[in-house]
Symmetry: C2
Subunit: 255 residues, 2 copies
């Protein structure tokens, strides 16, 4: 009998993904080598990466003017990468709980943070609605699903400024109008893949809006220009985009 | 017949490690759950982490006044984390090739870099020796083994300032006098574990020498204080410290 883990933490991956991962660790796609022991500069690994990107694009209906990349460090790393890249003067944040607060804390290292709306007055039990979004902020940042409180944006906001969303815990759980966002990102371990991979979906015009010189690994351009392979990527993006129970095409990766 | 991969890239892990990893992906230590699906906030995962640290400490004879942590992002991320934490005015770098150059490039975002010695004059075909180490630099940085050129420091330098070494590609291949280093780090994928994990060994007094306010994930204190678990760690440190063919105690993890 299969056991399920309903605790906080990583998602239960489907058996087809676990079995494919276990097999790939011993012998990856008949190469006679472990997936863990092949270079990322091989056509075999490139195939893994391209399939993950392609399935992600298909499942989330990601428009052609967006780039997708996978990187390490978790959402906690994106909390500072985002303001490092895009906060020139002032950014707007909606405070819906612990994950927003963490992002707000990191943004303050780079510039002014304006709290555009907050549900702290009622212990984060709701998602603020009907707030005005100023046009003089560099971007608006939201956390689309708030574990701990159980609140979620059910629809995609219209924003006059670039909208950036942490979707770590609800990505692929509902259709999203990606075109309304400048950037969507999250830790992959909740809904997509094993821990260790962060996904980033970024509208290509954002790549030209980086506001300061940045270390190579912090600059969003590095990861797009190098197709997630500026440095050695995590070993196991294979199950990315296969774990959603709604995924119509997940059988494609069931090997 | 087992195939070996002699290309650049990740190490071949021993069969015992691959088999243990494959098994843990289906059923981790009899829990009925995949290692990929359990929370890092469980005693099972904490056991994995503590065993990896303990074996690493034993194999490399790491003194008690050092902390060990595992983090994502690869050595490329450490290239900027190191100067971000420790470069106040001027740091010294030994230029022994492409990996040193990458580290030097990132350090320049944070302060002055003095090239203490270089082998660029003969295309990096040797390791500079007998150079003077000034006492007014914040730290001295070396890359202990230089893939591409095949050069390696065979002994541990004596340095009057904190010595920091990238040992990505020779860690655990020879005994190291850890006490001569302020920090040793590297990508785990060459000699220790699957890709996606970076190891850091840091002398505890360095934790009080952080020179500027830093985003949480960049500050070395975050990872030590939270025992590598400030955020969700990569799924698979289990084979860390089991892959060295010289590892006397690797059988302990062969399950």
């Amino acid at each position: 009998m299969k056991k399920y883990n309903f605790n906080a933490g990583p998602s239960i991956l489907p058996n087809v993904a676990l079995e494919a991962a276990a097999k790939a660790i011993i012998d990856f796609d008949g190469t006679g080598l472990s997936l863990l022991s092949i270079s990322h500069r091989t056509k075999e690994f490139e195939g893994v990466l391209e399939e993950a990107k392609s399935l992600f694009k298909e499942l989330l209906n990601i428009p052609d003017n967006y780039s997708i990349y996978f990187v390490g460090g978790g959402a906690s790393t994106q909390f500072f990468h985002i303001p490092a890249n895009f906060l020139k003067t002032k950014a707007g944040y909606v405070n819906t709980g612990v994950w927003s607060k963490k992002a707000i804390k990191e943004a303050k290292y780079y510039g002014e943070v304006e709290i555009i709306a907050s549900s702290e007055d009622r212990n984060f039990t709701y998602i603020p609605k009907g707030f005005d979004i100023p046009s003089d902020i560099d971007y608006l940042y939201i956390c689309s699903n708030n574990t701990i409180y159980g609140t979620e944006y059910k629809t995609d906001l219209d924003s006059p400024v670039p909208l950036i969303a942490d979707m770590s815990s609800d990505i692929l759980s509902r259709p999203v109008d990606v075109s309304k966002y400048a950037m969507i990102y999250g830790g992959a371990q909740k809904n997509l893949a094993p821990a260790g991979v962060t996904f980033v979906i970024i509208r290509n015009d954002m790549l030209e809006r980086v506001v300061r010189p940045l270390p190579t690994m912090v600059n969003v351009n590095t990861h797009v220009a190098n197709n997630s392979m500026f440095n050695t990527p995590c070993s196991m993006p294979r199950s990315t985009a296969t774990a959603s129970s709604a995924a119509p095409s997940r059988r494609r990766t069931a090997r």
